[in-house]
Symmetry: C2
Subunit: 86 residues, 2 copies
């Protein structure tokens, strides 16, 4: 599955649109963020996407977890937010 990678510079409304599109299409979006600024943008995007999806009658929820990702030769801990209809 495609993973939506969010950075501290990502626009939360743009990410929200992407999340809503993926949830509408395949019923599950996976968002990945590393660092406080990125996590903040990601959570704001999920809150906005919930509004978009509510218009389609979808009550979206979010499941946060930790995941290890490799960036070059470094292992970093990312936050993964799975967004799905409740």
């Amino acid at each position: 599955m495609e993973v939506l990678k969010v950075s501290a510079k990502s626009r939360s409304t743009a990410v929200a649109g992407a999340i809503a599109g993926v949830v509408r299409e395949v019923r599950r979006a996976e968002v990945q963020a590393i660092g406080a600024g990125a996590v903040n943008q990601a959570v704001k995007a999920v809150a906005i996407a919930r509004g978009y999806l509510a218009e389609d009658g979808i009550n979206a929820i979010c499941i946060p977890s930790f995941t290890e990702v490799s960036i070059g030769e470094q292992e970093r801990t990312a936050l993964k937010l799975v967004v799905e209809p409740r």
Copy 2:
């Protein structure tokens, strides 16, 4: 309902314990965070609390939204994370 207020300096494991305790007792915890550092600690706490609650057979989910809070005379936008059994 009691609101768990998280700051950038909150220990995510301590907040996670509080979230798990409230969800076990009243089936719903409300977490509030203002600013990227606080939101990051709050989401990490929810991810950790999910692990604690899973041990009790509770599959906890998270519902993020925006909320306006007054701090002194200032209006600030906070992120609210509601944690509930799915």
